[in-house]
């Protein structure tokens, strides 16, 4: 697979996202999976790592709905009257990752349930840094 030659870093992580794929690292030595692209295993320090394509299925483990937004999210139209949801997603393969949670009612967080099934939905695909987002499955 030609993609195997990509450097194990964030540039490659975002390049995969641009292709609609959530790719992380599997350690060939100890089997540890990481949803972040790393050149060295954080568990056993092995440099023998390979790309691992996650299925994009997971569940919502914790979340917040943000009303006081950073500048970058303000530019996308979010703010006091249009909050957005960010969460911690546990991927079905095990690792967790932080992501934007779309397709939920962020103005009414009581309607968002921890544990809900999610599926990958990458946004801002035209950017060199697409947004890792999930929507209800």
């Amino acid at each position: 697979m030609t993609t195997e030659t990509r450097a194990f870093n964030a540039v490659s992580f975002f390049a995969y996202l641009k292709e609609g794929q959530l790719a992380g690292i599997r350690c060939r030595s100890c089997g540890k999976l990481s949803a972040e692209a790393r050149p060295m295993c954080q568990a056993c320090h092995s440099r023998d790592v390979e790309w691992f394509q996650f299925s994009g299925r997971g569940q919502l483990s914790a979340f917040t709905c943000i009303s006081v937004v950073p500048n970058a999210m303000g530019e996308k139209g979010f703010g006091r009257n249009n909050p957005y949801c960010s969460g911690i997603v546990t991927l079905e393969e095990g690792p967790r990752i932080s992501a934007l949670i779309l397709g939920v009612d962020a103005a009414n967080p009581q309607n968002i349930a921890t544990g809900m099934a999610l599926t990958l939905d990458v946004r801002d695909m035209e950017s060199d840094r697409p947004t890792l987002a999930f929507v209800p499955a």
Binding site: E36, S61, A62, T64, I66, V68, P70, Y84, S98, L100
Partner: protein, 428 residues
């Protein structure tokens, strides 16, 4: 106590280290002051309150915590500027950056510099000038303490990550919005007794002032009956990062703090009432999404285990503590991570008043970051200063009733658990 992730190796200082003086600037929003002005104010407060005086020439070295003068006011390489403004050149001063734990770490560096035998007299402190930027700008600067590749692009802000932590706590334990509100009410009650606090006022008084202002301006007067009523009104207490509201968040603050550390052998040259640093621990943690659990900070548990082991004490022995309440839920997490209460028992301890000034485990007698203010790089040493005053019995109206205080603890978190520093102090 909470399970520790390691059985911390018992490390020892090369020789004992004592705190012999403390200085704090006013905490608040000071439009006309820069980083250097704030730190000079804290330093002058230290000089003015040394029991037996200090010759500045005798200070051999300094470590100053500062998160981001670069981003807040466009000034990097802050340490030599502070050395100059203190009239201390060519004394070496080093800036220490560990986000909001910067000065907790700076204190550790100073302790180790003396324990190594290299220096006898060391200045440690912290400073942050935050209010030049609008709130959105401060939000961006604080968010840069999180992982810029894997957290910030998800839209997570600093309150956002703590909001997710709060939600996880609420899912697992009985923690509620009311528990968070009670932490804020308690800390403002303490802050009202602290003349240096940014909010030197109870929430009840703040509520009454809002009512009076509405009346003066001929506007409808809100019918809040008590603080809880006030805090439950979304017009007074809007969402910041659900489930966190405005009054769950520590304010944006300008301020500076410093203490003088000396080798314990010479402590009595400076004061009859030194306070000894008997335990210090520091640990690193991973981003929240990569943490082993979402209801506890592993770095806090590990730093606490290190500090307890060095001091040879247990959580039960700690009589007063300043913990890192950058958000109200963070105080509840801290009291569990430090082993003061079992996991899940933190909220009940708040309900029972155990963490109040008059409780059996007074937490954040200074008002905490919540009411005293949170100039991020200055907060770790400011916590140490409150504990220093409590142990010396000179905390005035907010002195805890226990007249036989011996042991106090400070818990200083950087980012959302990336760094935690725990220091344990003993009355000399």
């Amino acid at each position: 106590m909470a399970a520790t992730i390691s059985t911390a190796k018992r490390r020892q200082l090369g020789r004992p280290v004592s705190i012999v003086g403390a200085g704090l600037s006013r905490f608040g929003a000071f439009r006309d002051m820069t980083t250097r002005d704030l730190f000079v104010e804290a330093f002058q407060d230290l000089i003015d309150h040394m029991d037996q005086g200090i010759d500045v020439e005798d200070i051999e070295c300094g470590y100053i915590g500062n998160y981001s003068s670069d981003l807040f006011e466009g000034q990097g390489h802050t340490a030599p500027i502070l050395a100059d403004w203190l009239g201390m050149t060519p004394t070496p001063i080093t800036r220490i950056e560990n986000a909001c734990a910067s000065s907790g770490s700076a204190l550790r560096e100073g302790v180790m510099a003396i324990a190594s035998g290299m220096y006898d007299v060391v200045l440690v402190g912290g400073v942050e000038k935050m209010t030049d930027l609008p709130t959105e700008g401060v939000t961006d600067v604080l968010a840069s303490a999180a992982d810029g590749l894997y957290e910030v692009p998800a839209g997570l802000t600093f309150p956002g990550i703590y909001g997710a932590l709060a939600k996880a706590h609420m899912d697992r334990y009985e923690t509620s919005l009311a528990h968070l509100a009670k932490v804020g009410i308690k800390n403002h009650t303490n802050g009202a007794l602290n003349p240096k606090a940014q909010f030197n006022s109870t929430l009840l008084d703040m509520m009454e002032r809002r009512k009076a202002r509405a009346e003066q301006q001929g506007q409808p007067v809100p019918d809040w009956r008590d603080e809880m009523d006030f805090l439950n009104d979304p017009r007074a207490n809007p969402w910041i990062a659900w489930p966190l509201r405005l009054y769950d968040c520590a304010p944006i603050t300008d301020g500076a703090s410093c203490v003088l550390l000396v080798s314990s052998e010479i402590a009595n040259n400076f004061t009859d009432k030194p306070v000894h640093v008997v335990g210090t621990g520091q640990a690193s943690g991973r981003p929240l999404h990569d943490a082993e659990e979402l209801t506890s900070l592993s770095a806090a548990r590990e730093a606490a285990a290190q500090a307890y082991a060095m001091a040879g004490v247990t959580p039960r022995d700690i009589q007063v503590a300043e913990v890192h309440d950058c958000f109200t839920n963070a105080e509840i997490n801290a009291t569990q991570d430090l082993g003061f209460f079992e996991p899940g028992e933190g909220p009940r301890a708040v309900d029972e008043g155990r963490t109040a000034l008059t409780g059996d485990r007074p937490i954040n007698t200074s008002g905490g970051l919540k009411a005293k203010g949170h100039p991020v790089g200055a907060s770790g040493v400011a916590q140490v200063i409150e504990t220093f005053h409590q142990l010396r019995g000179e905390a005035g109206p907010r002195q805890v009733p226990n007249t036989n205080l011996e042991l106090g603890l400070t818990h200083n978190v950087g980012g959302t658990g990336g760094t935690c520093v725990v220091n344990i102090l003993r009355r000399g």
